[in-house]
Amino acid sequence: MTADSGFVVIGAGQAGGRAVEAMRKAGFAGRIVLVGEEPHVPYERPPLSKQLLSGDDGPETTYLRDRGFYREQDIDLRLGARASAIDPSARRVLLADGDELAYDKLLITTGSRVRRLAISGAELPGVFYLRDIEDALAIRARLAEGAALAVVGGGYIGLEVAAAARSRGCRVTVLEMEPVVMNRVVAPEVGRFFADVHAAQGAEVRTGTTVSGFAGDRRVDEVVCSDGTRLTVDLVVIGIGIMPNTALAEAAGLAVDDGIVVDEFGRTSDPEIFAAGDVARHYNPLLGRQIRLESWQNAQNQAIAVARVMCGSNVAYAEVPWFWSDQYDLNLQMTGVADRWDQIVYRGDMEDRRFTAFYLLDGVLVAANSVNLPRDVRYARKLIESGARVDRDALADPAVPLKTLLEA
């Protein structure tokens, strides 16, 4: 196409927002169009289940930049606009409103959408999911003191909602299918520690409980569990995971496998099309394998790295995965990938609410979870990156600075 086709970015979330900034910062002076279905400028989602829910912040506190920024940077923001198709051979994006955008290079940052529960009553008013600003504000409006909330799914987002609701004086029950909460992201002992914290804060956590349906006339007023127990509620928030928005890419013939498949530079199976953020299944050189991450770090830093590649850089995105969750006064941070390990070494005491769990595989650190010790996770990231064997006794001894392990 013509020289002024420039870059088109589909998906104005955190990744899309960080990408367009990075393109300008890298010196790209051509046309940039950022297409986003939501009415908001790009924003960060973590506060949706934290500050926005527990406090009275306005939605604009989550925005990466204000509208003026995009004007100054000469970035054409198309908000409330949905891309409906990509034509890779003509290098064109079709919008639902009929408009067409030509591109030299295309970036897909369409993120993910919530997984829905297909059980009876799930469509009743009063049953919520939490993904965007409107969801958060609608939930917040119903978290009145004394209201009874059932959270379906004891993942970190469900537990953050539980904590926010407790801070507003709601009666809270968390229903989790697995025997332990946050099963996907922390060690079972750490999950049990968090379940205990919630119980101490007055939230009831029922593990090993499957929800089979919701009941109510005009709105939800009961949750039905598969063991027959029923729970009276004023509202329900479901947090059972997300799915990448890959339909556009798939229809365009790009390689998709639980995420748009990209290399360490964010390149899809079409050399002019890139992807980043939640939607991208990327090759991570540090881990030596493909991985799809659903995290703030990845949305920001992968997007920046890929945007630079689109502008001519040849630096791969290579970071040890890291993310966090805030519940009550606890800051939980997780790094590495905790899917295979043969030993967990603890540093510090759970009773002090400051401790770190280190996951080892054949004596090599592969992951860590820390509670209120963010610095430990920072050192853990470095240790994981180095791939070196670590001394278990030193790891377990809070008197030995982790820095000395890095130097060892």
Binding site: Q300, I304, N331, P374
Partner: protein, 110 residues
Amino acid sequence: MSDANNAEWHRVAKTSEVTDDEPKAVQVGAEYIALFKVDGTFYATDDVCTHEFASLSEGFVEGDVIECPLHAGQFHIPTGKALSPPVEEDLRTFPVKVEGDDIYVQVPKG
């Protein structure tokens, strides 16, 4: 002690309380200040990150850069400059002097 520009020196810590890897948080009046030591020199900046609410003295120091413990935003310690997303706004810095083994910070009168 006071100064012409309406700022006062406050004794805030002993030099031994601040190490390269572990900065220290101090409070002067209503100001929360982080003390850093980089290559033997002491610096003072705001302790509270300009992104959300985090205490930078609990962050991670690498060279002359402090990384926020919450979302890894980075600041240049000597100048307070915001270096990498998500932080955009710089930190304020405060003059520091050492007398004997005492660290003093100069803070404008509030």
